[in-house]
């Protein structure tokens, strides 16, 4: 208990509260002196809340000590290169520079955020089970719906960072990331961002959805500002994390690991990081402009002052479309990474799969206005954006065909991780197939802003990230802990979640086509959707139960899991050639790459050779 109370996390939260209060009092004092009204509906005025939130977020990071070394360097003091972590669980609640600890910190944070976001979904999904308003007010409904979206998105971004942080240095034979302190900083901005997002609940909520379009977002309660602020703070994590990862892959690969001998996941991680490094700024900018419009009366998006609300949508989607590939590229990379292990065959067309990740990332920058076909932007712009959007289908197709060719004539084994890989492929396929009708403009005029879209992106994000994320957790859990997760519970988790999820999203698409708008708290019973919605709500509960089983599995496997210190899955990847859990600085003996990563079925081949002469061969 004492260790918990003195941890960096608790210290940070305390500092955040104090910083927030001081910042707000500061502005309130100035307003008081200037003769402006110092208090408002939510006690402090909006400028006071916003300034306080900014000070609070910075205070959090300072309070944890994630910046201490930099302060010391500024003063000319020396600090040790490495910092040893305490052996127990408390290292996860404190600032660590070890990429594996940070990876797990990210992953656990992601799971917590996803559970919170999922809880919001269950609240409003229950409301939707029947037409009419059951137990939520309209504003509450909109707030939960909006928070569900953004908390899940941040959750996935954090989960992506977790998987990349944990795996990339290990896979390329590095002892850590290029910039371990920056890495710790990138993680420690996430908790205050999460606090900011959740604080919207106490400040009137916000009713704009995660897209935050003005003018609606200019009129929403103060909670809106906390949403903007939370996203802006979380964005730092993405930008700096992407920078760090690119530097790590470029500079720290072990001897012999040429571009086309990297594990395929590294390609996905690079493509993802290029996006986070270069696009995240745009959503920050878009939100900042609305903040300024609210605080200072600047008319960026106010037609009465010569502004243009459509400009916001361009800025917003210029990030938020590429962002969807930040969610899925790592997931698709995980699918390509795990599949050869369970099929015992090389990844079919390695180079094409690698290039398709880059292709998707780059073309993904050119398609943003497909979210705006009905927005009233220039009518003729819709055609070029349709072409670019449909082009994305080509590299996406390459991945699917390569996976099928990998499976063909393999010796397929399907323990839990492989189940999630296959489930991910099927679900992502449904998401991908429901994309082109949104792109051929005429059909999108009907589909836009309906439940069809809701079904489309839930399938892409679940198939593209959530399923592979589960696969990764089941697969690398032994690496991180030296124990195996329970297979039976894992299979129950899969077989409960997958059919429920497919039912949910296919029904979403069905009602969407028939006339169900998205983001509505209530629907006309005359539409005849009540039964569909009831089934969707039940499916939602089944998914929630499956997730609960997964969490229970994590817990008992950690406590009583079967010991597994060796090469559990019989993989060729370097991290499995050393005992689990992974040593603190990864490889005590460095290794060199001497072959192809996925030469399963080629007798006598090896991927890596350790300096002490041991080799990873077939078995």
């Amino acid at each position: 208990m004492k260790k918990f109370l003195t941890s960096a996390l608790v210290r940070g939260l305390l500092w955040q509260a104090i910083g927030w209060l001081l910042g707000a009092l500061f502005v309130t004092g100035i307003r008081f002196l200037m003769g402006l009204n110092p208090f408002d509906q939510f006690f402090f005025t909006e400028p006071a809340w916003v300034f306080g939130a900014l000070v609070g977020a910075i205070s959090f990071v300072a309070g944890t000590g994630a910046m201490t070394d930099w302060f010391k360097w500024a003063k000319g003091e020396e600090t040790p290169e490495h910092r040893e972590d305490p052996p127990g669980w408390e290292k996860y609640l404190n600032v660590s520079l070890d990429h594996k600890v940070i990876g797990i910190q990210y992953t656990v944070t992601a799971l917590i955020l996803m559970c919170v976001g999922g809880l919001f979904a269950m609240i409003f999904r229950t409301e939707l089970a029947h037409s009419g308003l059951q137990f939520l007010t309209l504003q509450e409904y909109n707030t939960f719906m909006s928070l569900h979206g953004i908390v899940m998105i941040v959750g996935i971004l954090v989960g992506v960072a977790g998987v990349m942080n944990y795996l990339v240095p290990m896979m390329i034979g590095a002892d850590d990331m290029s910039f371990p302190r920056l890495n710790a900083f990138s993680f420690w901005v996430v908790p205050p961002a999460a606090v900011l997002l959740l604080s919207t609940l106490a400040l009137g909520g916000f009713d704009t959805g995660w897209t935050g379009y003005p003018p609606l977002s200019v009129r929403a309660p103060v909670g809106m500002q906390m949403f903007f602020m939370g996203v802006a703070v979380a964005g730092w994590s993405s930008i700096l994390g992407g920078l760090n990862l690119i530097a790590t892959v470029l500079r720290m690969r072990t001897k012999g690991m040429t571009a086309f001998r990297m594990p395929i996941f590294i390609w996905a991680a690079i493509a993802t990081s290029i996006i986070t490094l270069t696009a995240t700024q745009l959503i920050g900018l878009a939100f900042q402009l609305v903040m300024f419009q609210r605080l200072l009366g600047m008319g960026f998006f106010d037609p009465a002052k010569g502004g243009n609300p459509i400009l916001f949508q361009h800025l917003f989607w210029f990030y938020s479309h590429p962002a969807v590939y930040v969610f899925v590229l790592p997931g698709l990379g995980l699918i390509s990474e795990l599949m050869p292990v369970f099929v015992r065959k090389p990844l079919f067309g390695y180079r094409f799969v690698a290039m398709s990740s880059l292709g998707i990332a780059l073309v993904g920058f050119l398609v943003w206005a497909h979210h705006m076909f009905t927005s009233g932007m220039n009518e003729y712009l819709r055609v070029p954006f349709m072409y670019s959007t449909l082009l994305v289908a080509v590299p996406t197709g390459v991945k699917f065909f390569s996976w099928i060719a990998t499976l063909w004539k393999g010796k397929i084994e399907a323990p839990t991780p492989m189940l999630f890989v296959v489930g991910g492929i099927v679900v992502f396929l449904l998401g991908g197939l429901s994309g082109p009708p949104n792109a051929t403009v005429a059909t999108d005029l009907h589909l836009h802003d309906t439940y069809w879209i809701v079904g489309h992106f839930h399938d892409t994000m679940f198939g593209g990230y959530i399923f592979p994320f589960f696969a990764a957790i089941y697969y690398w859990f032994p690496k991180a802990t030296g124990k195996r997760m329970n297979e039976t519970l894992g299979k129950i988790h899969f077989w409960l979640m997958t059919p429920a999820f497919l039912t949910l999203t296919l029904l979403m698409m069905r009602v969407g086509l028939l006339g169900m708008r998205r983001r509505v708290a209530d629907y006309d019973p005359a539409l005849g959707f009540d039964n569909y919605h009831l089934i969707m709500t039940i499916a939602g509960y089944l998914i929630a139960i499956a997730i609960a089983i997964f969490l229970y599995n994590l817990y008992i496997s950690l406590r009583h899991g079967e010991t597994a210190t060796g090469n559990v899955w019989n993989s060729r990847s370097p991290e499995w050639q050393v005992p689990s859990p992974m040593p603190v600085h990864n490889y005590d003996v460095p290794f060199e790459v001497v072959g192809e990563p996925y030469d399963y079925g080629l007798p006598g081949s090896a991927y890596v050779r350790f300096a002490d002469g041991s080799q990873s061969t077939k078995h």
């Binding site: 063909w408 010796k411 028939l514």
Partner: protein, 337 residues
Amino acid sequence: MRHFVIVGVLVIIVFLATYFGLTALKLMPVEASAQSIVVDWMWNLDFVVMCFLFALIVVPLVYSLIVFRRRKGDTSDGEHIEGNTKLEITWTVIPLITVLVFAYLGAYSLGETMAVDPNALEISVTARQWSWQFDYPEGFTSNELHLPVNRQVVLNMTSLDVIHAFWVPQFRIRQDILPGRVTNYRITPILIGNYTVMCSQLCGTSHSYMTAPVIVTSQADYDAWVQSQVTAAQAAAAAGGPANGKLLVQKYGCLGCHTTDGTKLVGPTWLGLYQSQVKLSDGRTVTADQAYLVESIVSPSAKIVNGFPDNVMPKTFGTALTQSQINDIVSYIETLK
């Protein structure tokens, strides 16, 4: 070879089964506009390809999982196949050609939905949180959209506050409605019936309820309806008093912010307002007499009701309305007890 034949046959079977099975479920609402026929044509082409690709991926996937599964006791690896450049190029180039064709078709069908008839009927649409208002060329205002069948209509739409969107599922087409600008919605109804326009761009708390009836009738019924509306408007204007006031508050959009049933929107409700005690934001309490009502319309900032924001209600009604119109509105509000 045997594997390929089996999978090929299964792909065709699954493709046909999904396509015809799902189409039989009637995926789309009825086609009530000329444009919906074009949209559904495009949708159907998309859907054929979707069903085919679904079969093309899922069948070999499931087939491999069953046929190429690891047998008990077998510890050997699969065949060492690293890739095949010809295959990779094939499944890059064929999809590339397909998407280019589809982009062409998409542009073509988009063009069809935008085709302009110079004789189109023009109706103005005003959207606001959270109601619809339709202004007809004959000079009257309605909260229902009546349209004659088989004649193109273009809706000139604008919003008084946030972004809204006009969508009637049976018409298929959708268009956002922006503040400070006019956007167009062009449609040719082809099926007589009652439909609903739904706002389909999240516009705040009551977004779900921002709907209005859309009634497509024969040209004769439409003409008769227009005539009855014109007569009613003229009669009310001639008679003055509450009946005219009721039409005016619809026409000038008062009901976007004020209700007549006690619900609180952006502004205070009018129900039971007349002669009630009103608490003001500066702490005073005044009686809502006739003079107060007139002043609140002409100079909204003079007295602010406690709990409501200043500078929201337009300050232009004093010039937009004549003195007798204002009196009619006030006399209407006085009837709301």
